[in-house]
C-alpha cells in the first residue's frame, strides 16, 4: 500500500483556521468576559425550549426502567444458547472452541459421552463478572449455538456472576412459538453464504 498520503504533512491546502476571538490577556479584559457571559441570557433560551416542549406534551425521553429501547440485532449483551429450528435439539456440540478462544477466561465447560454415544455438555458456565462481551465466542462457534442476546441488565451485587447452560438455552415454548431470535453479529451467516460454498461432488 502507498503510505505517502499518510506521511504528507503539508496541510496548507485543505485545512483552515477556526475564527476564534482573541483571549483576554489582562484583568480588565477577563472581567468584561465574565460580565458578558453572565448577562447574555443564554440560560433563558434553554429554559424556554424546555418550557415550550413541556407545554406541548411532546416528550422524547424514555421512562427507563419502565420503558426500554429496542436493541440492535448486532448488540453484544448476555449470551444465549440457541436450538435447532428443525428438531428443537441444542445446537451446542461441546467442541470447546468458545472456552479456548475466550480472552478473559470466563467460559468453563465439561463434556461427557451420552447414552447415544454423542458428545454432551454436562456443565457450562460463563462468569459475566469477567466477561468483556468481545463476541469471540459467538464468532468462533461453528454451530451458531452460543450467541449474544439483547439482555443487558446483568448488574449484580457481587463481582462474580455466573450464568449456566440452562439459563442461556432458548426455552422450548419459545421454539414452539417460533420466537427464537437469530444473532446477526460476527459469526452469523451472511446473505451471500450459499454463493461462497464449494460443493462436494456426489457422483452416485
Amino acid at each position: 500500500m502507498n503510505t505517502q498520503a499518510f506521511n504528507d504533512r503539508n496541510v496548507n491546502d485543505s485545512y483552515y483556521m477556526v475564527d476564534i476571538e482573541e483571549y483576554p490577556t489582562d484583568g480588565w479584559g477577563r472581567f468584561k468576559r465574565v460580565i458578558k457571559r453572565t448577562f447574555r441570557g443564554e440560560l433563558f433560551v434553554g429554559l424556554w425550549v424546555v418550557l415550550r416542549e413541556m407545554l406541548k406534551f411532546n416528550i422524547h425521553t424514555i421512562q427507563y426502567p419502565l420503558e426500554k429501547m429496542p436493541i440492535g440485532p448486532r448488540y453484544r449483551a448476555v449470551h444465549e444458547m440457541k436450538r435447532l429450528w428443525e428438531s428443537d435439539a441444542e445446537r451446542c456440540i461441546g467442541c470447546g472452541l468458545c472456552e479456548k478462544i475466550c480472552i478473559s477466561n470466563c467460559i468453563k465447560m465439561d463434556t461427557k459421552i451420552d447414552e447415544n454415544s454423542r458428545k454432551e455438555v454436562s456443565e457450562y458456565t460463563i462468569n459475566l463478572g469477567r466477561c468483556i462481551f468481545c463476541g469471540y465466542c459467538a464468532e468462533v462457534c461453528p454451530e451458531l449455538a452460543i450467541t449474544h442476546g439483547g439482555e443487558y441488565e446483568n448488574g449484580s451485587e457481587q463481582r462474580e456472576h455466573y450464568i449456566d447452560y440452562n439459563g442461556m438455552l432458548t426455552p422450548l415454548e419459545m421454539m414452539t412459538q417460533g420466537k427464537q431470535q437469530e444473532f446477526e453479529g460476527f459469526g452469523a451467516i451472511t446473505p451471500h453464504e450459499d454463493a461462497r460454498m464449494k460443493k462436494t461432488p456426489l457422483a452416485y
Binding site: 472456552e99 479456548k100 468453563k108 465447560m109 458428545k119 458456565t125 454451530e143 461432488p201 452416485y204
Partner: protein, 752 residues
C-alpha cells in the same frame, strides 16, 4: 573392510547421505532430518505401506518409489519434492477425506490429528472424488471404542498389536471401500487391553471409551513421567485438567511415545491411584513419635529412590531395622550373582531383548508379571525371528504366538532346570576346573527326570540356537524366593560369563532394584513396634486406604526409580498432594533435606548411582528415538569369591498347587484402586485342577497355604492346563518370603 561394504552412499535432494545395510530410504532421510510425509509409517514396526504418501522420485526410474519399504541402491539420486509428488500427495489426502465425517468439533483427536494436519499441509481446498457412503455403526470393545466411519485403514493398529504387543487380536476385514478393522477370530475384542492401538491411531477411530468426549487435546497439561506399576520403567505422559467446572486437577488420560515405546494397559488406563489428604497435624505428630519409638520400619518397593534413602537415614539415626522382603531377596540374589560374575548389575536390558535372536525365560509368567519384557520378546520374535524358550511349570496362552519352545518343568525344580540348561550351553566353554567339576558332578539323569525335561528338549533348544548371535537369559521374580535362589544366581552368572548370553533379572515391583541398591535391609521378624510405610505395621503411613497418616502416591511425587534396564528414571508430580510427605517427618526427626529430591545426588556411587541433581535429569525421547531419560547406573566391580554349590535333591510339589500370579493389567494394591482396570479376583484353574480339588466353576472355596487362609471364587479357565491354579495377589497380599508356588488345601464352602 567389511564395514565399508555395508554402507550404501546415495543422495537425497542433492545431499550426500549414507545408509547401513537394511535401512530404507525413509529411515535414512529421517536420520538426516529430511522431511518425507507419511500417514501409516510407525518406526517400531515393519512398514504398513498403505498410505503411499512417502512416495519419492528416484532418478532414472519412471513413477514413484515408496521410501518406507525401499532400500537405496548405491549412487541413486532421490528427490523428495516436485510438483508431481505434491499433486500425488494432495490427491492421496483428498481420497482420505472422501466421506470422512465432518465431526472434528467433537472428535477426541481434533487438534492432534494426522488427517487434519496433512489435509491442511497439502492444501486440500476442494474435493473432486466421491464414493457412496456406507452405514458403519460404532463398535464398543470395553475400554476401547472403534468408529469405522473415522477409520482411514492405515493399519498401524494391526501392526503394533501383532509386532510390538503380541496379542494379535485385531485384523483388517478386506472389502475395498467397506474394509474395516475387526477383532481377529472372535466377535468381541479378546486381548490384554494394552491400548497401544488407541495410541497409534492417527485419527479418532480407536479411542479410549473412558476418555471419549471428556476433554480436548489442547486443554490437557502434559507431565512426562515413568510408569509406577512394574519394573519395566516405561515412559509415559500424564495428561491433567481441572475436573468439571469447579473441580481440582485430575488425570484425564495417559499417553506414550508410541513411535518408539510401548505401554501396557495398566500404565495407560490405571492412572487414578492418587491419594487425597489434608494436613492432619495430630496424625502427623503421632507419626513422628511412632517413628522415633519404632524398632523397625517395614516398607514396600512402591517407593522412590529418594524416599528409600530417607528411610535409610532414619534407620541410621534411630538404630532401627528396615524390612522389605521383596527387595532383600532380590538383593541377596544379585549379591550371589556378583560373587561369580564380578559385576553388580546384570548385563542385559529390554533393548538387548528386542535385538536378540535367541532368548530363554525362566521363573516368570512374564505376560502378566512384566509386560515390558513380553513386548520386547514379541519384537524380537517378529523382527529377528528369535527363538524363545519359555521354561515354566505352566504354559501361558498369552505367549503362545511368541514362544517357540515351551519347556514345561516340575514346580520347584528351577535349580535343576538352569543347571541342565547351563550344562548344554557351556558344553564346550573354557571353564575353570572347579566350575567344570560342578558340571561333571551333575546327575543329568536324575535332574532330567525330576524336572521332567527330556534330553531331546535340550537338544532341540541347542539346535534352534545354533545360528543365534544375540542371546538373552531372562530370570523372573519367581526365583527370588526359591530356596536355592543363590545357587541359581551363580549358575546364571556362569552362563553369562562363559557364553554369548546377556542376563536380565526381572525385579518384581516398580523399584525393587532401587531399594535393593540403596537400603541395608534386615530379615523381617514378626515383632511389634513396626511402622509400616505402604506396608503392614502398628502405625501405618500409606497412600492407600486404612492409613494412620496419608502420604502421596507415586504419581504425586518427584523422585526416581531404577528400572529393569538399570536405568535411573525420573517421575514427576502429576497431581498435587496437600498432606504431609516422608520428608516432612524426616525434618521433624532432625534429618534436614529441603526437598525430597535433594537426595537424588546422594544415592551412592558404591551402587553405581551418579551424583546428578534431580532437576538435571532429562525425561524424553528424541525425534530419532534416542533415549534421554535419566541415566544408566555405572558398572561396579565386585569380588569374585563365589562357588557353585552342588545340586542336591530337588523338591517335589504334589497335590493341588496354587501359583501367586496376577491377572492381566493387575499388579498391586494401586492398580486395584483404579477405576478402569478389570478386577478378576477369582482363583483360576483348569478342569484337571477342579477335578483334583473336587470343586467346580463358580464355587466359593477356602484356600489354605502357609499360615494364610483366604476365600475366593473358583473360575474354570479353558486356557489353563495341569494341576496348578492361579491365585491373584493384587487384592490380598501374600507373604513375599515364600516361594510363589504353594502346596495348598482347597475346601469348597458349603452353600447356605
Amino acid at each position: 573392510m567389511s564395514m565399508m561394504e555395508n554402507i550404501i552412499n546415495f543422495t537425497i535432494n542433492g545431499q550426500n547421505v549414507e545408509a547401513k545395510k537394511g535401512e530404507t530410504i525413509l529411515q535414512v532421510a529421517r536420520k538426516n532430518d529430511i522431511y518425507i510425509p507419511t500417514m501409516c509409517y510407525i518406526s517400531k514396526t515393519t512398514p504398513c505401506a498403505s498410505c503411499r504418501l512417502c512416495s519419492v522420485e528416484a532418478e532414472g526410474l519412471d513413477g514413484f518409489v515408496l521410501s518406507c519399504n525401499t532400500p537405496p541402491t548405491e549412487g541413486v539420486a532421490i528427490n523428495t519434492n516436485s510438483n508431481d509428488l505434491e499433486r500425488e500427495r494432495t490427491n492421496i489426502m483428498k481420497l482420505y477425506d472422501v466421506n470422512h465425517p465432518l465431526e472434528c468439533g467433537v472428535c477426541d483427536k481434533s487438534g492432534e490429528c494426522d488427517l487434519q494436519n496433512k489435509t491442511l499441509e497439502f492444501n486440500v481446498e476442494q474435493q473432486n472424488f466421491s464414493a457412496k457412503d456406507l452405514s458403519r455403526p460404532i463398535e464398543h470393545w470395553g475400554l476401547i471404542n472403534y468408529d469405522p466411519a473415522l477409520c482411514i485403514l492405515c493399519e498401524k493398529c494391526v501392526h503394533v498389536c501383532n509386532e510390538s504387543i503380541g496379542d494379535d487380536a485385531i485384523d483388517i476385514k478386506f472389502g475395498g471401500y467397506s474394509s474395516v478393522i475387526i477383532p481377529k477370530n472372535s466377535d468381541k475384542l479378546d486381548c490384554t487391553f494394552c491400548g497401544e492401538c488407541i495410541a497409534v491411531c492417527p485419527v479418532g477411530a480407536l479411542v479410549s471409551s473412558n476418555f471419549q468426549y471428556t476433554a480436548n487435546a489442547w486443554e490437557l497439561e502434559r507431565i512426562p513421567s515413568t510408569c509406577a506399576h512394574c519394573s519395566g520403567g516405561c515412559s509415559l505422559e500424564y495428561e491433567t485438567r481441572d475436573e468439571g467446572i469447579f473441580g481440582d486437577k485430575e488425570i484425564y488420560r495417559v499417553k506414550n511415545n508410541f513411535e518408539y515405546t510401548n505401554l501396557c494397559g495398566a500404565g495407560r488406563f490405571g492412572f487414578d491411584f492418587n491419594n487425597k489428604a489434608t494436613k492432619d497435624e495430630a496424625a502427623f505428630s503421632k507419626a513422628v513419635s511412632a517413628i522415633k519409638e519404632a524398632k523397625a520400619i517395614r516398607f514396600s518397593s512402591m517407593i522412590t529412590n529418594e524416599e528409600a534413602y530417607i528411610l535409610g537415614e532414619l534407620q541410621e539415626k534411630f538404630g532401627m531395622k528396615l524390612f522389605n522382603e521383596d527387595a532383600r531377596l532380590f538383593a541377596s540374589f544379585m549379591k550371589a550373582y556378583s560373587t561369580v560374575s564380578g559385576k553388580k548389575h546384570h548385563s542385559g536390558s529390554l533393548d538387548a531383548i528386542k535385538q536378540a535372536d535367541a532368548a530363554i525365560i525362566i521363573g516368570s509368567r512374564v505376560a502378566t508379571d512384566n509386560p515390558a519384557v513380553r513386548y520386547a520378546l514379541t519384537t524380537a520374535s517378529r523382527h529377528n525371528g528369535a527363538k524363545i524358550i519359555y521354561a515354566h511349570p505352566m504354559e501361558d496362552a498369552l505367549m503362545q504366538n511368541t514362544v517357540t519352545q515351551n519347556m514345561k518343568h516340575e514346580v520347584g525344580t528351577e535349580e535343576g532346570v538352569i543347571a541342565l540348561l547351563a550344562n548344554a550351553i557351556l558344553k564346550d566353554a573354557d571353564l575353570e576346573t572347579q566350575e567344570r567339576a560342578f558340571f561333571d558332578d551333575l546327575d543329568l539323569g536324575y535332574l532330567g527326570a525330576e524336572c521332567n525335561i527330556g534330553e531331546e528338549e535340550i537338544a532341540q533348544m541347542m539346535l534352534s540356537f545354533k545360528r543365534a548371535q544375540n542371546k538373552v537369559l531372562i530370570i523372573g521374580a519367581d526365583i527370588m524366593a526359591h530356596a536355592k535362589a543363590k545357587n541359581i544366581a551363580k549358575i546364571a552368572a556362569i552362563i553369562e560369563k562363559y557364553s554369548a548370553f546377556s542376563l536380565v533379572v526381572i525385579p518384581s515391583e516398580v523399584n525393587t532394584l532401587g531399594v535393593s541398591l540403596i537400603n541395608k535391609l534386615d530379615i523381617d521378624e514378626d515383632i511389634i513396634d513396626v511402622v509400616g510405610y505402604n506396608a503392614k505395621g502398628n502405625f501405618v503411613l500409606s497412600s492407600l486406604e486404612f492409613a494412620n497418616l496419608s502420604i502421596p502416591s507415586l504419581n504425586q511425587q518427584e523422585g526416581t526409580f531404577v528400572s529393569i534396564d538399570n536405568q535411573v528414571l525420573p517421575t514427576n508430580v502429576a497431581l498435587d498432594f496437600k498432606g504431609y510427605t516422608l520428608n516432612d517427618i524426616a525434618l521433624s526427626c532432625g534429618i534436614k533435606h529441603k526437598n525430597t529430591i535433594d537426595c537424588t545426588k546422594m544415592l551412592g556411587s558404591q551402587s553405581g548411582f551418579k551424583e546428578i541433581e534431580f532437576d538435571a535429569l532429562e525425561n524424553f525421547l528424541t525425534s530419532h528415538g534416542d533415549d534421554k531419560r535419566g541415566y544408566i547406573l555405572d558398572e561396579v566391580n565386585c569380588k569374585m569369591n563365589g562357588k557353585l554349590e552342588a545340586v542336591d535333591t530337588l523338591p517335589e510339589f504334589n497335590g493341588t498347587v496354587i501359583y501367586h500370579s496376577n491377572p492381566v493389567l493387575q499388579f498391586n494394591a494401586y492398580t486395584n484402586t483404579t477405576k478402569q482396570l478389570e478386577r478378576d479376583t477369582s482363583l483360576r484353574g483348569s478342569a484337571q485342577f477342579a477335578q483334583a480339588a473336587k470343586i467346580s466353576d463358580g464355587d466359593t472355596v477356602e484356600i489354605s497355604f502357609g499360615a494364610q487362609v483366604i476365600q475366593r471364587k473358583f473360575k474354570l479357565d479353558a486356557d489353563l492346563k495341569g494341576t496348578i491354579a492361579l491365585n491373584p495377589t493384587f487384592d490380598i497380599p501374600v507373604d513375599l518370603r515364600r516361594y510363589k508356588f504353594e502346596k495348598s488345601k482347597i475346601v469348597r464352602m458349603t452353600n447356605e
